[in-house]
Symmetry: C2
């Protein structure tokens, strides 16, 4: 392990986190019409947090003096794994130093703040805060930081790194490979830095467009920015207790649906649309959309959304949850898109829906968006490949000598994916089952007591949804964790477990798992 | 597909099933002290079922006239898959023709009988019958048939086939490979027929020993035989409503524990103990036991039993379910062994235990016994290999160029296992999740209504345990499916789904899955 290089890179990361806190400061002033009066505590808290980030950066820079060499596989994993944990810790400082209250008059603990910060960076959107709309409990500038962590984590802080610095040599590719989700990492440009820059340009472009659209639809600039971060990073933090349901506006919900789907799409598709390869240049722009439509993963993504929406809508009408078709399809579509893209915005408490709907949504939590998007979950492409692998393996049972290559669309995929996809699948499922049991054991029953009755079965289901929701970076769960309620009542040990799951889910397991391997740290 | 050969083999199978019904007939006479009076309906029902089996056998034999060729991969899969379905159908005839009652005065439907029959052959032991102790509802001779199906299915009817016929050429190996559980099929003898015979000899030997022990411990010959079948086949059908708890005897429970563990052990270990390789002959017999102890799978199996028993015992004492240490360890040990070996005998209703215990048992349902035993489940060896594969894959993330072979103990395992084990794992888990959702949807809420309250969360958990229990061939589940209650109240469509899961679990998926592939049936 090249410790000095590692230290230097982590120092740059701390600097980046500290610098981005700067953007939250203006909202402490009442000029922008958000804060009622100057939020002294919030302002000082964030300034102090920035200073600590700088100090950490300075120490790490000093520790890394004379760093040499390039980033190899090991260093890439360590930077991504440790970098995200460090960002989570530094990101929790504004909450702690501004004495943000979890519930009225109860300040956040260190674990609470770490949970909230990691939930932000990993674009999970699970929250322990209950009084979002009361600035005396949560300063507006801290709330802005909370939403901004989504935006930083969505496209990936390490990718931002690569885009800004770029002089990482061969290491940039290894870094991006560990941070950008999905089994394959196509690069749209021959050089890694250019790819990272192109991705961030598209991301910033979408952010500008959406925030203007939100303002035109009647949001304040503050709400518009916060909800843009939540939508495009598929995070799901809102500035209101009722989440997206607060606006009670079909237009805003439709806008969110469109942009959540965009955020769940592989960003290299946008790049291809905007910069078609030379051959395709002669094709008129509207024909280029065919390229996107013909992409097998994206098509499966849209098809899944349509299928689940129809199933939910029919079930919501039949079970009598909603009387009107319009209402059923509105909430059905919004919830489907919000869950599959792992955003977690809510318009209605789906924990109250029928058994079938709840089970379907619990399943959908594992789906996730496309590879190379900001969405979490297992990712559609892995499901497509998994189905193909199962077919091939079953066929092998009766035709042992036939060898088939793994194809998706017209492309032959590398053979190593066979093993990797199935391992990823079974690892996520095993992790889900083991963490479920663990959470169920370490969590006291208090939340699930209705008078003298203890609702044991409810607890089992709620814990399952909490684990699925954290591991797939969604946010809300079922029962006590519905979009209207949150993780505030969970025990400290339960929150810590869920925080680890969020990190595992965001970095697709391995960058965190290796940290527990002694042989990873040994010099060889 | 060689249809004629297939037809001829299935004809022999029908003959075998018909012939084995003959053994149930004596119990219809009061001579043996079981039946109070001559059970006319039961006797005639079984005779009629035998005649139908013979007729089916004759038809299939005629259809297969002039059969030629040997059994290849395709035929082996078809014989095992279709053979087990046929055995399930033929085995359901005695229930139907003797008008066995599901609940007082409500006769079994066709689906009920198929469920009970498949549950018997697959050694699941899930039952739809509620009045086991009332001979006017369920004739004693039919009940004997019910337990006897366990015994036939435990070691495998196709393996019995191979042992009896033996002139299948190269096909015998393919057949056994599909029916004997586990990823590896070592053959203890160079010739397949000899291996099959050796296995059946050990099985018959254990049966004789256990039935005599049970008689010495005070059971009637009838009860002794029925419970021997249930124990050694890891099935779990009992002749009493309270299952093994009926005897209220620690001695009988301890005997069952010992023999359940034996039945969950790889039968080739017994063979090695009895027929050591020439080199080992000079070693005294008590040193030979080391060979068994050094077998990694068996050691992990015993270690898991001890670990879970300790966890359960401590939890049962702490949660106050039992006051005395003796009681806690007695029920803890019995339940652990009963679940891990997928037997499903019960002494206590573990659905009433604490959350932790219930979740632990639900997890344990997936473990299963050793490969090459009569137990169901995923099998210990697959867990061992899975853990190794995950280690190797995680290491690959930071040492991409290191290639490691898959080892277990001192042996190098074939490379194809890497893919197979992980595929099996993820397929079982996906099947569990999808079937859970399906069962939850097609099953009406009626069973889970407490006055006006609908216990939705209870239903989700009970359905999960029903699916896990069927897929792993265990039998009892949680809640409404505890060892004291059963599947009687489930809907017909729910029972049918569970029946398919039992077959999938017993044959380790592929022999049933391929039947749904059109390309399997195409001639190529």
């Amino acid at each position: 392990m090249n410790w000095r290089l590692l230290s230097r890179l982590l120092s740059l990361l701390s600097l980046l986190v500290g610098a981005s806190m700067f953007l939250s400061l203006p909202w402490a002033f009442p000029v922008f019409g958000v804060a009622v009066q100057f939020e002294q505590q919030g302002f000082l808290g964030i300034v102090l947090a920035m200073l600590i980030c700088m100090a950490v950066a300075a120490c790490l820079w000093y520790a890394g003096r004379g760093a040499q060499g390039t980033i190899l596989h090991k260093e890439a994993l360590a930077v991504v794994g440790l970098g995200w944990i460090l960002a989570g810790i530094l990101g929790s400082l504004p909450y702690l130093l501004s004495r943000t209250m979890r519930t009225p008059e109860i300040p956040m603990t260190v674990i609470d703040a770490f949970f909230e910060s990691v939930s932000g960076f990993t674009t999970t959107g699970a929250s322990v805060l209950t009084e979002l709309e009361n600035p005396s409990q949560i300063p507006k500038c801290v709330m802005f930081w909370r939403c901004f962590t989504h935006w930083l984590g969505g496209m990936g802080i390490i990718v931002l790194f690569v885009a800004l610095l770029g002089h990482l040599g061969g290491g940039g590719k290894a870094l991006m490979q560990r941070e950008v989700p999905g089994p394959l990492n196509e690069t749209v440009k021959p050089r890694v830095r250019e790819t990272a820059l192109a991705m961030w340009k598209i991301y910033v472009g979408l952010t500008l467009v959406l925030s203007i659209v939100f303002i035109l639809e009647g949001m304040s600039p503050y709400d518009s920015l916060c909800h843009t971060f939540g939508t495009l990073a598929t995070g799901g933090f809102s500035t209101y207790n009722r989440s997206a349901g607060h606006f009670e506006s079909v237009t805003i919900e439709m806008t969110m649906i469109v942009f959540m789907i965009a955020a769940g799409t592989n960003f290299s598709l946008f790049y291809l649309l905007l910069n078609p390869p030379p051959k395709a240049k002669k094709i008129p722009w509207y024909r280029r959309a065919e390229v996107v439509y013909n992409e097998p993963e994206w098509r499966a993504f849209i098809f899944t959304i349509l299928l689940v929406t129809v199933a939910l809508t029919v079930n919501l009408l039949v079970s009598g949850t909603y009387r009107h078709f319009g209402e059923a399809i509105r909430h059905g579509l919004f919830t489907t898109v919000s869950i599959i893209t792992t955003t977690g915005f809510g318009t209605e408490d789906f924990g109250q829906w029928s058994d079938f709907s709840r089970a379907l949504l619990l399943l959908l939590m594992f789906a996730g968006g496309c590879a190379g998007s900001t969405a979490g979950g297992i990712k559609i492409i892995r499901f497509l490949l998994f189905a193909k692998i199962i077919r091939v393996e079953t066929e092998k049972a009766f035709r042992p000598n036939v060898i088939r290559s793994l194809r998706l669309g017209r492309e032959n995929l590398p053979d190593r994916l066979r093993q990797e996809v199935v391992v990823y699948f079974s690892l996520v499922l095993s992790l889900f089952v083991v963490s479920w049991m663990l959470l169920n054991t370490i969590e006291p029953d208090t939340l699930w007591q209705n008078g003298n009755d203890s609702l044991k079965a409810e607890k089992l289901i709620d814990c399952a949804s909490a684990v699925a929701s954290s591991l797939n970076n969604i946010g809300p769960g079922l029962g006590v964790l519905g979009p209207a309620s949150n993780y505030s009542g969970f025990s400290q040990q339960g929150k810590f477990l869920l925080t680890i799951l969020m990190l595992l889910g965001r970095l697709e397991l391995f960058a965190i798992l290796v940290l527990f391997f002694p042989s990873f740290w040994r010099n060889q």
